[in-house]
Structures are given as structure tokens and as C-alpha cells.
Symmetry: C2
Subunit: 253 residues, 2 copies
């Protein structure tokens, strides 16, 4: 069994603990948490520590903390030359302290507190400073997921920006859709099957081929009707910018 220590008690840490706990290939030997009460997983409480000096020898240390805490946390480790990875999509490999062998173990997914997730489908983006360490990280990732990718720091940055578009920005468009429904006394539930189908379409079509709507087909009268319907300035600005961008994009291709 591969011995793992997880440092952190946030959303990602919690989900990783739950996933590894079910894996027969992995032994979570310790979890470091400043606040013991935060660990809600079914974990033996004796494995939880908030003392840097109490960290036992593990094959892998996974730092699952916020980006700006990674450097500080990794500098607190009292040992050397062990495999230490972070789980961030944006932090470079260099944010980890030089005294240990570095790596990245980035699960590209959105984690919601309390909502279980099927780890098998989560893509893990792996990077290590030394080639020999890649095999360990790969084994660990494979114990919980079927989607493993070797991704360097530049590619990871690109993925993270792209993820902002397809996750954060997309969810914001859902918010605006919800707002328009509320303002006009219709249930947002009516849009949910459409939202799901829009996402599921990508399993069979490229987003280029899936693009439809008034902007794409340059349907000026519908666009004008929509623009005059939207009285909220923010909604109206976003509508215009995205419509124009889709229209120009069509010309560019």
C-alpha cells in the first residue's frame, strides 16, 4: 500500500480523503489540519494532527490548501527529499519548497461541500520534478480515477483559464438566466433540462458544431427583440458583447 499524508481540511482535502479511504491501494496515514473539528470524514481521529513535528514518513504528501498558502505550508515541513505535491491549477511547481521532491496532483473538477462526486471520471493532471516520481503519482491517481494526464505547468495554466470560461463564467450565465426568469415570474426549473442537454451535447459534438441561436445564424430581428426586452444594464451589456463576439467569430472561421 502507498502511504499518503494529506495536509489541509478544505473542500478538496475532504473529497480526496473520502476517495482514498475507499481505495485498497492507498493508506492515509495522517491528515494535517490546524482545526481538528473541520475533518468530517470517517477518519480515525488519532490520524489527525496539527503538529508539524508529528508528521510520520509517507510515500507522498498532498498539500491541499489555498494557492497563497502553499509556499508557507511546504516551508513548514520538517523533513527533506520526500515527494510533496500540491493540488492547485494555478500555482507553479516552484511554489513548493526546494527541500523536497516536487509535484502537482491537480484534480480538474468543481467540488461542492457535502455533494459526493464520482472520482472515477475526474481528470487528474499530474506533473513531477523528477521522472521517477511520476510513477508513484500516477499509481495514486489511478487508485481513484480512470482519467490521468501528464500536464506541464504551462498546459495546466491554460487548462485553468479555460476552466474559468467553461465553469465560472458558464455558471454566471446560469445566474443571469435565473435572474431573467425571476424578474418575469417564470420558473428557472424550465431551463434546467436545456442546461443539461447543452453540456451533454459536447459528448457527441464539438462546441463549434453545437453552436446555435440568433447570433450564430445572424437573425437580426430576434437579436433586436431580445435587446429591447432586456432592461437590466448588466444583462444587456453581456448580451450585446457575447452576441457580437459570436457573430465576429463566425466570420473569422
Amino acid at each position: 500500500m502507498i502511504k499518503i499524508t494529506i495536509i489541509g481540511s478544505g473542500n478538496v482535502a475532504q473529497h480526496l480523503i473520502d476517495a482514498f479511504a475507499k481505495s485498497k491501494a492507498i493508506d492515509i496515514i495522517q491528515v494535517f489540519s490546524r482545526n481538528q473539528k473541520q475533518i468530517i470524514s470517517n477518519l480515525d481521529p488519532s490520524k489527525i494532527t496539527n503538529d508539524w513535528n508529528a508528521l510520520a514518513e509517507a510515500d507522498l504528501y498532498i498539500i491541499a490548501v489555498s494557492d497563497d498558502a502553499i509556499a508557507n505550508v511546504s516551508s513548514h515541513l520538517t523533513f527533506e527529499n520526500r515527494l510533496v505535491v500540491h493540488t492547485s491549477g494555478t500555482a507553479p511547481l516552484t511554489s513548493l519548497d526546494n527541500k523536497n521532491r516536487k509535484g502537482v496532483f491537480y484534480p480538474l473538477q468543481t467540488f461542492t461541500k457535502g455533494k459526493p462526486i464520482d472520482f472515477k471520471t475526474i481528470p487528474f493532471c499530474l506533473e513531477t520534478q523528477f521522472e521517477e516520481d511520476y510513477a508513484i503519482l500516477e499509481k495514486v491517481a489511478h487508485s481513484i480515477s480512470n482519467n490521468i494526464y501528464a500536464i506541464d505547468s504551462h498546459q495546466r495554466k491554460a487548462l485553468h483559464v479555460a476552466a474559468v470560461f467553461v465553469n465560472n463564467f458558464t455558471n454566471y450565465l446560469y445566474q443571469l438566466g435565473n435572474e431573467i426568469c425571476l424578474e418575469n415570474h417564470v420558473s428557472f426549473d424550465i431551463l434546467k433540462p436545456l442546461i443539461l442537454e447543452t453540456a451533454e451535447k459536447l459528448l457527441t459534438l464539438s462546441p463549434q458544431d453545437a453552436q446555435t441561436g440568433p447570433a450564430k445564424r445572424n437573425d437580426i430581428s430576434t437579436i433586436e427583440a431580445h435587446e429591447s426586452f432586456l432592461s437590466d444594464e448588466n444583462q444587456s451589456t453581456i448580451y450585446k458583447i457575447l452576441t457580437q463576439s459570436i457573430q465576429n467569430h463566425g466570420k473569422k472561421l
Copy 2:
């Protein structure tokens, strides 16, 4: 059995024909199509006509054509005082000719040629000129779907605008995400589980509660890193506008 005639042979018409063909409560007595070859469904060819005078008496005529053809098509009908509906999200009830009883039968979903869809989950937005006709339309919709809503023309307009945000604009963000992946030699497949989870999250959380990301948490250093990463002007403009909008939205709430 309720006798239905479908006028049109596009995407929506095809999907409706397939769905009604499986329903025991509905009898498709005819399909009007200018181009007989376009009807790909397993329909008895003798039921297909392109002659306005050949249309037999039905309980319901569903005009499933493009928005700007509705008025013209409905004026071609040679009978009077029968129930005639269109399937558009934007066209008003008044786009139908006055000589028949009007209604709207709007399935709020995105239809892809050749991709089968589960009609049971599709929301049908119904409207009729006369109350007595609503019951017929409701029965027809219920024969293929479990999601029926009485939606007036104003609400339908709002839904259609909101659908542009959550479907067309969202798919465009998928396109930009795909573009960023291509430019940086990473597979867009890595983002697909995230895209699906972002949509599925809405089944348990409101979009407000589901919002995450650098803009939401006002993480200026990540936003600046993303902005300097994006060299494409279009991607960069969209990134900035949506980021600012999320930030301002947070203040407004």
C-alpha cells in the same frame, strides 16, 4: 386518439414526429413537407403531402417551421376554426392567421439532427387563445412529456432570452475553452467532466450558491495572471467583461 397533423420537416418537426409515433394517445394523420425526401422518420410515405388542399381534418395542426415562415404557412391553410399552433419560443400568438384557433406548443430544448432525445424531461410551454383548447394541447404534450407549463407570450419571451444565455452563450464559452486548449496543446476532453458537473450542480444548488472562481472571491493575483496569459483579443475581452460583471454582481447582492 387525438389526430395530429405536423407541418414542417426541420429538426423540431422530425423530433416531434418520432416522439408522437411512439405515443398510443396520438395519431399522426399527416405531415406537410415541401420536400418529401427530408422526412427521415419511419412514417408511412402516403401520409406525407405537399398539397395544402390535401390536408385532412385533424384535432391539432402543429406548425414547426422557422419563425419568419409561420405567418405565411398559417395563411396557406385552407380551413377555418381549427386548432393551429406553432412551436416557436419567440413568435407571438398573433403571428398565426386569424381564421383558425391559435396556440403555442413550445418545447424548450435544443435539438440536434440525428441525436435522439428523451422527450419525457423536455419542458413544454403551452399557450392557447381559448381556454377550451388548452386541455387538448395539454393532453398532447402529456402524451410525450412530464413537464408541462402554462406560459403566456411575455413569459415565453423571457424564457427565450434566458435560454440564449444558458444555451447559446454557454456553448460559446465552451468554444472559447476549446480554443484555449487547442492553442496550448491540451485536450479539451479534460474539461468535459467539469462542464457536466457545472450543469448538474444546478439540480442541488442555485447558480448563486454554485458560483466559484477568482472573480467571485476577488482573487486579483489569479485574475491578473489569467489576463496576461490570454493573448487573443476576443478571449481577453470576454474574460475581462465577465470577471468585472461577476465582481460587481457580488457587490450588488
